[in-house]
């Protein structure tokens, strides 16, 4: 492998300090921004197909340390500017571990590596870390971690093969006669031409808001989601790349074009589709090793360059691939070493790292590689897609490295499905429209179908049963707070049971409508729960509504009982029996749970909406619909926490259903904000000022009322429902929060039980309509 090299190491021994290359300088700057992050640790576990002798391995690795300056290179910052410093040859001590006694040696080695890789390097000391791990039964794994400052993927391949060659020489006693390796630090790379510099300087691009997510500042934490493309599809992709508009100079470039085209199509579909013609940009590394000698040199040569493509609604895979082929040709033509610093790469937030390199063998032994992810990546990059078949498995490996601040786990896990749908689509018909490909996997489709049609999730358990279970689990937890008063779950349930028992005694039973005409109070909550426990259906009656409207509702439903307050009875005209909760004595009624409860198909409540004819229109909701919505909302918004919700909206609004049942069925709290006598209800402003709740369910009109106010530290989530959400408004609110804020837009007609779909607003609009202020750091807007 190592032909005689004209280079000698004499020049490197004279001077041990060298300027950083452009590739190194950009990496060094990136590391400086997050000094404690292992974001540039490039680690692999190589499983070698045989027993490796630690003594010969040590000798082989020592020979590389001696013969190449790359592994001896560190960064010297003493003079104020970073320089490469080549250390004199040093004694390398191989770390040898034996996991053969472990129950699962393979898993133990991986666990060890995954912890080990997270330690950042001290740039001034040593930029590699390696170990040999015995797994028993002639199985050995080699852990190799290098800082990106001295390596890239070609260098990793080169190092594995060189250590392998030297290992074989050590075994055969010929190690001393091995040639020196091409020096790295002293390489004098030519400066880029003005043609290339001007080309990249003129390049303009915009980051893409993947899944409509964007943020000014995010952390360097990433998670790798892996999938592989099976043999059949991998072969078909290679074939297609050579016989489609992706076909270019070489098989590797053709396949790159196809993969890049798929990534563009994916980005388009999950970000800007529907907004007309768009220019998308990704960054992709040029390997920077145009000559054979550079190909054999250990070190970092890759530089990231932007790859741009326009894409429009009428784009087919074929037409896109032709554009990508042009773009990659232009990129390569201008990808001279050192030119990347003139490209606007910092505005690119998606990286495609397509690795055509393949490992050969290690001293005649097979090598299987596993790329160990350090859980970190450049925070500018929201997605890094690594595509390789480093082991020559015949199956393309896809690693989606996704920023943890920007994408929740559930979404991260769906990314491969979305991408693979496009892979299948291009293989099925490259002439089809990109915009018409169905991206959803079966699981996601069924989830969405469940949301879209409000199919029952867990609708067999009614809210009455769920509430009683919650009481058992949270007996002494505070359930309701109203001013200075509060009730625990146990106390609340006892009062509900007394009233329910009383209602039963009065004749309330299954599906009997019972009016509730109360101002917001603890009693209102007790009334709602008691009607349901008694088996009835509650009918909210807004005390502030005109008497005629109230009478209409009472008549229309032939309501037999109305739970109310003695101060409100003059508004309730009709035949209904009025039960003023402040005037009846319930202490002698049983406070234990009733022995029967409503069935899923029974009516739970009736809401009157303003009908289009002018007459109020009643909408009936069954227990199964209510239970379905509440369980779904708990899983979506609460996620195992105990959260406080304010009760501040009229009971007749369906959004109030969320504020009551979601906390009370998940061990959270309802904080009651009573109606005020002022003409304008200022409850919402008080909620924001008092900072006592975690979640607010509200309408966009409500949201407008608190626009400009500073949101407190406790508030975590806003759930919007009922009207169109203007994105500018949501953005403005997100930006007034000091901490990450989740904003959900939930919608659905009252008939569909509160909210059927959570929808997103468009963050592109957001950028356009919010001239000052961006969402606070880490703010997420769920769209």
């Amino acid at each position: 492998m190592m032909a005689a090299s004209p280079s000698t190491s004499s020049s490197t021994t004279l001077n041990s300090r060298f300027d950083l290359t452009t590739a190194q300088r950009l990496l060094w700057l990136g590391q400086k921004l997050v000094p404690e992050s292992p974001l540039y640790n490039m680690a692999f576990l190589f499983t070698l197909g045989g027993k490796v002798d630690a003594g010969h391995f040590q000798a082989a690795f020592q020979a590389v340390v001696d013969r190449s300056d790359t592994l001896r290179t560190v960064i010297d910052e003493a003079s104020g500017t970073a320089k490469q410093q080549v250390l004199p040859p040093f004694d390398f001590r191989l770390l040898v571990l034996d996991f053969s006694a472990q129950e699962n040696p393979v898993a133990a080695a991986r666990d060890w590596a995954e912890v080990r890789v997270r330690s950042p390097f001290d740039l001034s000391q040593c930029l590699f870390d390696t170990a040999l791990i015995y797994l028993g039964q002639n199985r050995t794994v080699w852990y190799l971690n290098q800082h990106h400052l001295i390596t890239d993927i070609s260098s990793v391949k080169q190092l594995v093969e060189t250590v392998g060659e030297f290992y074989a020489r050590s075994l055969s006693g010929t190690l001393q006669t091995a040639n020196p390796l091409t020096p790295y630090a002293a390489l004098d790379l030519p400066t880029p031409s003005t043609r290339c510099i001007d080309y990249w300087r003129a390049c303009e691009l915009q980051p893409v808001a993947l899944y409509h997510r964007s943020a000014e500042t995010i952390s360097a934490r990433t998670r790798r989601v892996h999938c592989e493309i099976d043999e059949k599809r991998t072969a078909a992709l290679k074939e297609l790349s050579m016989h489609s508009s992706a076909a270019a100079l070489t098989p590797a470039l053709s396949l790159f074009n196809l993969v890049a085209g798929l990534l563009f199509a994916y980005l388009y579909r999950v970000s800007v589709q529907g907004q007309g013609r768009q220019q998308l940009a990704i960054a992709t590394p040029a390997h920077g090793r145009p000559t054979k000698a550079l190909k054999e040199t250990l070190g970092v040569f890759i530089e990231l360059f932007p790859l741009l493509s326009e894409i429009e609604e009428s784009e087919t895979f074929s037409s896109l691939l032709a554009k990508v082929r042009e773009a990659s040709g232009a990129l390569l033509r201008h990808a001279e070493p050192g030119a990347s610093e003139f490209a606007p790469s910092r505005d690119v937030n998606v990286v495609l790292n397509f690795i055509p390199a393949q490992l050969s063998d290690f001293a005649g032994m097979s090598v299987r590689s596993e790329w160990i992810h350090a859980g970190a990546g450049d925070p500018r990059h929201h997605l890094r897609l690594q595509v390789h078949d480093f082991d020559g498995r015949g199956r393309l490996q896809l690693h989606f490295d996704l920023n943890e601040d920007l994408f929740e786990r559930e979404l991260q896990d769906r990314v491969p499905t979305h991408f693979l749908a496009l892979v299948d689509a291009v293989l099925a018909d490259p002439e089809q429209l990109i915009s018409s490909v169905d991206l959803l996997g079966d699981e996601e489709r069924s989830q969405l179908a469940a949301l879209g049609s409000c199919k029952p999730v867990n609708a067999d358990v009614t809210v009455v049963e769920s509430f009683e279970q919650t009481v058992q689990q949270n007996a002494s937890v505070t359930a309701v707070i109203c001013g200075a008063e509060s009730l625990t779950y146990e106390q609340l349930n006892a009062q509900v049971n007394r009233l329910a028992s009383y209602l039963r005694s009065q004749g309330v039973s299954t599906e009997i409508p019972v009016g509730i005409c109360l101002r917001r109070s603890t009693e209102m909550l007790i009334a709602v729960l008691a009607v349901l426990k008694a088996g009835g259906a509650y009918v909210p009656i807004e005390p502030s509504h005109p008497v005629e409207r109230i009478s209409y509702i009472l008549e229309d439903m032939q309501i037999g009982w109305v739970l109310t307050h003695s101060a409100l009875t003059d508004r309730l005209i009709g035949k209904a029996q009025l039960i003023a909760l402040d005037a009846i004595e319930l202490s002698h009624w049983s406070d234990t749970d009733l022995d029967s409860s409503p069935q899923p198909q029974n009516l739970a409540y009736l809401l009157y909406t303003s009908g289009s004819t002018g007459q109020p229109k009643g909408v009936a909701v069954e227990h199964r619909n209510l239970a379905n919505y509440v369980q779904w909302a708990i899983s979506k918004y609460v996620r195992g926490r105990q959260l406080s919700f304010p009760l501040f909206s009229p009971l007749a609004f369906d959004l109030t259903v969320t504020s009551i049942f979601v906390p009370l069925l998940s061990g959270g709290q309802v904080v009651v904000y009573p109606d005020s006598d002022e003409p304008l209800d200022l409850s919402l402003q008080r909620i924001v000022q008092e900072n006592a709740v975690d979640v607010i369910k509200l309408t966009p009109s409500h949201l407008a009322l608190i626009q400009g106010m500073r949101l407190g530290s406790r508030l975590k989530t806003l759930i919007l429902g009922g009207e169109d959400l203007k994105s500018a408004l949501a953005s403005a609110i997100a930006s007034s929060s000091q901490q990450p804020l989740e904003i959900y837009n939930e919608y659905g007609p009252t008939e569909a039980t509160v909210g059927c779909m959570i929808h997103s607003f468009d963050s592109e609009d957001k950028a356009a309509s919010v001239p000052i202020g961006q969402p606070a750091a880490g703010s997420e807007i769920y769209l």
């Binding site: 590797a252 042009e326 990808a335």
Partner: protein, 79 residues
Amino acid sequence: MDNQEILKKFISEDLLNSRQRVEADDDLLGEEIIDSMGVMRLVAFVEETFSCKVPQSDITITNFRTIKAIDTYLAARSL
């Protein structure tokens, strides 16, 4: 030195650093003797040496597969 010899010398010495010899009929691209980045280096060399502009659309497999092909392409350009 004719064009083919000039190209052979550049590819063998500058791109392959004398580690490999290339002949006029060797499939430079299909065998990946030089990769796409190497081709771009070659294009820059051709433009400089033969004082011509090679448009992006001319950088094709047909024109750059072999040294002979490049020679043919250059001859066609000078017609």
